[in-house]
Amino acid sequence: MLRRIGVTHVVSPLSSFFSSVASARRLQMTAVSASQAREHADAPGAVEMNFLQAINSALDLALSKDEKTVVFGEDVAFGGVFRCTLNLSKKYGSQRVFDSPLSEQGLVGFAIGMASAGWKPIAEVQFADYIFPAFDQIVNEAAKMRFRSGGHFHCGGLVIRSPSSAVGHGGLYHSQSVEGFFNHCAGIKIVMPSTPSDAKGLLLQCVEEEDPCIFFEPKRLYRSMVEPVDPGYYTIPLGKGKILCEGRDVTIVTYGAQVGVAMKAAERAAQEGISVELIDLRSLKPWDREMVTQSVRKTGRVIVTHEAPKTSGIGSEIVSCITQDCFLSLEAPPMRVCCLDTPHPLNEQLYLPNELKVYEAIKFITGY
């Protein structure tokens, strides 16, 4: 019941928060050079899609491409609580698009069993906050299956997709960014896109991967972020970041919904003559260490920002690698702008690494 309430609340189209995010999107389009922004949006017949529609398109194409692909999870059959699976059950049948009982360890374990038999299950965990009941199945089983069997068994066809991150009023259990917990686990891959086009291409790549993948979807972007998306089938390789705008004074490394926040901060800094290079990692494990290294060697300064809490967040790993790779280039200590080291409160205005905090970090590090 609590989840149901959360769901209803979360998808309110009247939320003013969405307006500010849409505004962030417009800024992003302004700042990014045309060729980079429209990586898959310039295709002939590109269609306006929001984030959830891009996900739906990816799932539709995956299901049509391979009859051993299935999509399932809690409430998936009717279209899903964020409508990402709308119409798929009607189109592909209830054996391939179906509801599971309400058990995350069950549905992930079930998916591992399907993948170990050669199928491609795309399992949905309704909110990233509820992936922890499946943590043992993911960490002890999915991630280690190929290794422990010397390559003779694997569940490479497994994809787990899950709504993630803040949404304005999700409180403790509808707002979490949990990628840091899994980053410490060899054997799985982790993706968190920030745009509809990237979401579609990266999700289809996850389906094609022969390693288990966790695909996090920043849920506040589901309806608010719209762009032209190639309606056809395409993939974007894992492990490749994306430079959203080039700059010479400071590098910002981020991913997910935080990309929009960083873009607004960069725009504000630009008005004061500070030139920011903004990198969207998109793929977190593996991540594009080379792109980040080259950028920081050029700018000499780096801010890593993500919504997950600061201590032991992915930013720690990135900063440690930057220090090792770019030691002689660094003109200021690498900085991290993240959520506080507290659980996610209902009132998150001062909790989130918002535009003001990122802007202040830019000012601080360029003035070091």
Partner: protein
């Protein structure tokens, strides 16, 4: 059956009351609504007398075929089993017993790091394996090596895994007794208990979908998961069996109830009618069988497989056995149960001897064959130990393999650094 017994227990001598005509509207309304709850009251959705239901005593009896002397108790229930299968079952149990004896001693001598035997539980594993098809996918817990032996896993394979030598195709990454074989359709064992149960539900779902498309009946297959009664306390047990039920997976859940989870007796593990009763709660067919009676296990599993295939439901079978050995080479069971208990129950049940008497009575086996096979397998196991002790382990260059299908650039770099480190310090690593 469960409800009838329950009813009889609570209302012995009483008559079920006929609903009053006044309640017809209520009965009809609830009957119409019952599908909302996925229930079927059979026309009588309510009672006007409050009853709390409990089933504890008497426990559901177990099916058996042979008595302790290997005699068939009810000729009508004697399963028709091909002679070759009977002999193969006997050989598999004796082979496993012999291997266990040698490898447990090897652990005591420090030649392998860890071991777990199947003592006393050979019949439940072999009877199950014999009743299944070779293409059926098996998910083991860890005390079912005899099922692998039945399928053709060799002494060489077992020793290679227990020693982690270069001949272990699994690359020596897991503790001893964590066997697996893609060729034999036996999934790799892992230590976290019960995790294989939802896997078996998912694989069983794949079996169901593929069976529905398969036109050749001989190519249809099921999935089977072996579970200890302690593992059944894990959340994954609930998740896996429940999901197999709702998804109509072609899965057999074979519960080895041997009375102990390491030191924890079943009185601390559950209070219901064993694990059997839980399957009833998930709405699937269940059976309880004498796990020391290989013919009873065989017949039950064979019927279970037919039921799974013909009704698209998972089936749960609880085999009652006794763990004659310590839990593992790291356990001394005299700390929590008396030697007398172990001696009495071990000698009382003797699953291998029981079946041997049956075969002898049918002139299919002789004591000399047991002695001969036992001696041969012990010598074979010892010879393999000696031979493989001289073999190298997997090379340092393999340490980063198989984490992913392909190595990432960072893993390539880490592997290179490790090999360079090893080359610089080779003498200090005793490899």
């Amino acid at each position: 059956m469960f409800r009838k017994s329950s009813h009889a227990l609570m209302h012995s001598g009483g008559l079920f009351r006929t609903p009053r005509p006044l309640c017809r509207a209520l009965q009809e309304a609830l009957t119409k609504a019952q599908s909302v709850w996925n229930l079927d009251f059979g026309g009588t959705p309510t009672v006007d007398e409050l009853t709390f239901h409990q089933r504890k005593y008497p426990s559901t009896p177990m099916f058996h075929v042979l008595d302790l002397d290997g005699r068939v108790v009810n000729p009508k229930q004697e399963p028709e089993v091909p002679k070759e299968t009977l002999i193969k079952m006997m050989e598999a149990m004796l082979r496993q017993q012999s291997i266990d004896l040698i490898l447990m001693e090897a652990q005591r001598q420090g030649r392998i790091s860890f071991y777990m035997t199947s003592m006393g539980e050979e019949a439940s594993a072999v009877g199950t394996a014999a009743a299944l098809d070779m293409r059926d996918e098996l998910f083991l817990q860890y005390r079912e090596a005899a099922a692998l032996t039945y399928r053709g896993y060799t002494v060489k394979d077992m020793v290679a895994q227990c020693m982690g030598t270069i001949e272990n195709e699994l690359k020596g990454r897991q503790m001893p007794i964590h066997y697996g074989s893609r060729a034999l359709n036996v999934h790799m064992i892992s230590s976290p208990v019960a995790t294989q149960i939802p896997h078996a539900a998912g694989t069983g779902y794949v079996c169901r979908l593929e069976n529905e498309r398969e036109t050749d009946p001989n190519k249809k297959r099921i999935c089977a998961a072996f579970v200890g009664e302690g593992s059944a306390s894990q959340g994954d047990f609930h998740a896996g069996v429940n999901m197999a039920a709702t998804m109509k997976s072609n899965t057999l859940f074979l519960i080895r109830n041997n009375g102990y989870a390491i030191s924890t007796p079943s009185s601390s593990q559950y209070a219901g009618d064993g694990i059997f009763a839980r399957g009833i709660g998930y709405g699937i067919p269940c059976a309880r069988v004498d796990g020391n009676d290989i013919l009873a296990v065989f017949q039950t599993v064979r019927k279970a497989r037919e039921l799974i295939r013909t009704t698209n439901q998972p089936v749960l079978v609880e085999a009652l056995v006794y763990r004659s050995s310590h839990h593992s080479s790291s356990d001394d069971s005299t700390w929590y149960r008396s030697r007398e208990e172990v001696e009495v129950f071990s000698n009382l049940f003797l699953p291998v001897a029981r079946f041997e008497k049956y075969l002898e009575r049918k002139s299919l086996w002789t004591p000399e064959q047991s002695r001969s096979l036992t001696q041969k397998v012990r010598q074979e196991t010892l010879a393999e130990l000696h031979r493989q002790e001289k073999l190298p382990k997997w090379p340092v260059s393999s340490m980063h393999d198989d984490v992913y299908k392909e190595m990432t650039p960072e893993m390539h770099q880490a592997q290179k650094e490790l090999e360079e480190h090893y080359e610089r310090n080779k003498k200090e690593y005793n490899m």
